[in-house]
Symmetry: C2
Subunit: 112 residues, 2 copies
């Protein structure tokens, strides 16, 4: 068993610290199938609009996020869950004035 | 893509409502590899002390939980993450006087 807390971890900074990434559980811990990550978006920050062959299973832990798809933008908040299919275009944008965080799980084929 | 919020879902009640279970994303949505569930433990509630061949990847969303292992009990709170290895004995106990919730992801072999 591995037990930790995000407050004890140094996050990886992406886009000059606009996005913080923490790999909570993954292959380095011996996890055989999937990787649990936590992303924190600073106010105004966005993940890339992109696609990849693996799915996302997401849970919004804190804050307000806009889910950007090809033709729609959907505002979600704490308690929201999102399934992004393999090869589906997607982006997450923090449109608010406070930080937003979400859990994002991917299969190990997606790396970390 | 599927987008929802836990406030819009009717949870499954376990142990006379002491435990609430919500399957957020899984095979019914077409998810090919793993299942994201949210469990809410009422004050004093415990999951069974048990083991199974699949792993857990867990994130504590709210509240205070005691992680029970064979020889140790570890108190964790919001922001904690837990990796339970396949076949490892484990139990989660809400020792506090308010609800506690955690995300628990399993491979699809574990059912829902």
């Amino acid at each position: 068993m591995k037990i930790g807390n995000i407050t004890e971890m140094q996050p990886q900074e992406i886009n000059n610290g606009q996005i913080l990434k923490r790999v909570l559980v993954g292959p380095k811990d011996g996890a055989p199938n999937f990787v649990m990550r936590l992303f924190t978006l600073k106010p105004g920050a966005s993940t890339p609009y992109h696609t990849h062959p693996w799915e996302h299973e997401i849970f919004v832990v804190d804050g307000d996020i806009e889910v950007v798809q090809k033709d729609t933008r959907t505002k979600v908040s704490k308690g929201a869950f999102i399934y992004v299919e393999p090869n589906e275009e997607h982006q997450f944008h923090n449109y608010s004035d406070k930080e937003a965080s979400f859990i994002c799980v991917i299969p190990k084929e997606g790396g970390e």
